[in-house]
């Protein structure tokens, strides 16, 4: 599947990091949708065809792992990547397909996305 046919839903409550993350993903050729909260993300999922969810962990109201669990409840096969600025991995991080630290740089993130999409493709 070509990158331009892949839509990533990028979730972060903070605008600048969210926008920049969306920008680097678009540079890679992905289609990117953005959401500022878990609730918004869930409603966007309803209306759009999304191949992967990339969500921040530390968000008010609904955390990244909570969003992941709700996404998996609706669409078990949809891959989710958790991204966090915390050094400790959250206890229930295993609900997501990958956990990526924010400070690892774009290449690590791209690799993770690539791997997760590849795994999803093989599953389907």
């Amino acid at each position: 599947m070509a990158a331009d046919r892949i839509t990533i839903l990028c979730v972060d409550d903070e605008e600048i990091p969210r926008t920049l993350r969306a920008l680097i993903l678009r540079k890679q050729g992905y289609q990117v949708l953005t959401a500022a909260s878990g609730t918004e993300a869930l409603s966007l999922l309803d209306q759009n065809s999304v191949s992967l969810v990339l969500t921040d962990q530390m968000m008010p109201v609904m955390s990244g792992t909570e969003l992941t669990k709700r996404v998996k409840a609706i669409r078990p096969r949809l891959p989710v990547i958790l991204i966090s600025g915390m050094n400790e991995i959250p206890a229930d991080a295993s609900c997501a397909d990958r956990f990526v630290s924010k400070v690892e740089g774009p290449d690590v993130l791209f690799n993770a996305i690539h791997e997760v999409l590849e795994e999803a493709r093989q599953r389907n």
Binding site: E14, I16, P17, L20, R21, L23, I24, K27, M58, G85, M86, N87, E88, I89, A91, S101, K102, V103, E104, G105, P106
Partner: protein, 524 residues
């Protein structure tokens, strides 16, 4: 009856005329005269008054004088009461009078000579008064003795009670004279210091206990002399050589010839407090570190992404792109530091079995190309294949750091020796593995040795964060292990060896640093 009171004089005669004449004779004595017309009446008066002397006619109807005297002598109260018989001279009477052996008894014959009667009565009255006075003084004395005895008994009881209390006290209590010699030593002191009373009496107490004072002992003496008391913490050594910290109160005894010392063992209390403080500090540090990490990491990601966008922007020429690339790389290094220092990054939540040998091989594999380039020969001897429960990333970080340091110490080439063997240091209940990493590089100078494990200490002026060994030590401590090093010169060659001991024990899940891990520094 007071000393100067009138004495009661009982006059017994059945003839009122005689009674009247006795009264007339004795009136001038100034005593109290009580008449009785019969023995019966006399007995009645005797019971009612304290009679000094009984003047009685021998011949009376019903009960005569002798019978009355017999009756009186049978009564304990009247056994010593003076009796003066008045009688006509009959031999039989005289014999009977002599028969009264005890008690004051006298005899006057008729006709009565007034002066004689007065003199005899007066003597007996005076005698009675003196007796009474003596009795009163005796009573007073006895009472005073009784009171004093009671007081003594009470204070003795109090003393005994106090002594019992001193023995009951869990505090070590002792009294010493001004030269320091022990005068008293309670059972609390025996329990705390392990020395028996009989062993320490007369000994120099602070020599015996190797007391370390918080201030100059002379100063303490001065304070004691001035205020009468002093308190502070002392460090002392018990009989078994154990060091104890005690909260000590000293008081100068009244009279100033001895000092009372009461000491409470606060060793474990201090240890607990210290451990608590340490735990609190660590917890607080952990929280702060987590917050700082988050606050740094978030903008860091945004900036890194900005640099990525910059360097991939089509408007940029090759040179500008190169600069953006440099910036991005440096930012990744910052991220690496926050990850290393502000909480350890773990890929799994629970520890797994880590094979040290496999892990070392992986590191060597990674470094093999640069080792060949630097002309470094590797000597590996794995005598233990023991696995350690832990987080591979953390353990890998330790040895990546140690091997990296060794490589950097040998830019001109040399020998890297990696030995893995069973730990002998730990006891059998906690077996473990020992890993030594030795190089023949530039060595470690003695002035650097003491700072090696401090944060931000580096000998690599340009490269290096100065955090590598500090972080490694932190990781090893968390595993309950130890790290030590020695640097020596052998046949003109510097040999630097780092030795890491890792016990094969359960690793705490959270990243609290080990409290009892040791750090040994040895420079030969």
């Amino acid at each position: 009856m007071n000393d100067n009171d009138q004495a009661n004089i009982l006059m017994v005669d059945d003839q009122p005329g005689k009674l009247m004449s006795y009264e007339a004779i004795l009136k001038d004595l100034g005593e109290n005269l009580i008449p009785a017309k019969s023995a019966r009446e006399a007995l009645d008066q005797l019971l009612r008054h304290d009679i000094a002397v009984v003047l009685m006619d021998v011949s009376m109807p019903e009960i005569d004088g002798f019978e009355l005297a017999d009756m009186m002598r049978q009564h304990p109260r009247f056994q010593k009461t003076a009796i003066i018989f008045i009688s006509a001279v009959h031999l039989t009477d005289l014999d009977r009078i002599k028969g009264y052996k005890s008690g004051a008894v006298d005899y006057i014959s008729v006709p009565v000579v007034p002066e004689l009667l007065r003199a005899k009565v007066s003597v007996f009255a005076e005698l009675h008064r003196k007796n009474r006075q003596l009795e009163r003084l005796n009573r007073e004395l006895e009472q005073r003795v009784a009171e004093r005895t009671e007081q003594l008994r009470l204070s003795e009881d109090q003393l005994r009670e106090r002594a019992d209390l001193l023995e009951l006290a869990t505090e070590a209590i002792f009294v010493r004279d001004m030269t320091g010699a022990v005068l008293y030593w309670n059972s609390g002191a025996e329990a705390l210091y392990g020395w028996k009373r009989e062993e320490v009496l007369g000994k120099q107490v602070h020599d015996l206990l190797k007391t370390v004072f918080p201030m100059d002992p002379h100063q303490i003496q001065e304070i004691l002399a001035k205020t009468g008391k002093w308190d502070g913490n002392l460090v002392q050594v018990t009989r078994t050589g154990e060091e104890v910290t005690v909260a000590c109160r000293k008081a100068l005894k009244a009279g100033g010839d001895a000092i009372l010392e009461i000491s409470r063992d606060i060793t474990s209390q201090l240890k607990t407090e210290e451990a608590l403080r340490k735990a609190e500090r660590l917890a607080a540090m952990g929280r702060v570190a987590g917050i700082i990490a988050h606050e740094i990491n978030n903008p860091l990601e945004a900036i890194t992404n900005t640099f990525y966008l910059l360097r991939t922007h089509p408007s940029l020429d090759e040179e500008a792109r190169y600069y953006a690339r440099l910036g991005e790389e440096e930012l990744l290094r910052v991220g690496h530091i926050t990850r290393q220092t502000l909480g350890f990054y773990r890929e799994s939540r629970s520890p797994v079995a880590v094979s040290i040998a496999t892990l070392l091989d992986e590191i060597l594999e990674l470094q093999s190309r640069s080792m060949d380039a630097a002309n470094v020969i590797v000597d590996r001897q794995y005598r233990s294949r023991r696995t350690i429960r832990g987080f591979p990333v953390e353990i890998k970080q330790v040895f990546l750091n140690l091997i990296g340091n060794a490589m950097q110490a040998m830019p001109e080439g040399g020998k890297l020796r990696l030995h893995v063997y069973e730990s002998r240091r730990r006891n059998r209940q906690h077996p473990g593995v020992c890993i030594s990493v030795c190089d023949t590089g530039t060595g470690i100078s003695p002035e650097h040795a003491n700072h090696l494990f401090e944060p931000f200490f580096t000998t690599k002026s340009v490269k290096g964060t100065g955090l590598g060994l500090w972080i490694s030590k932190g990781i090893i401590q968390k595993y309950g292990g130890a790290i030590s090093f020695r640097s020596m010169s052998y046949m003109g060659q510097n040999i630097t060896c780092f030795q890491v001991t890792l016990p094969d024990a359960e690793v705490p899940m959270l990243s609290e640093a080990g409290v009892d891990a040791s750090e040994e520094v040895e420079v030969a």
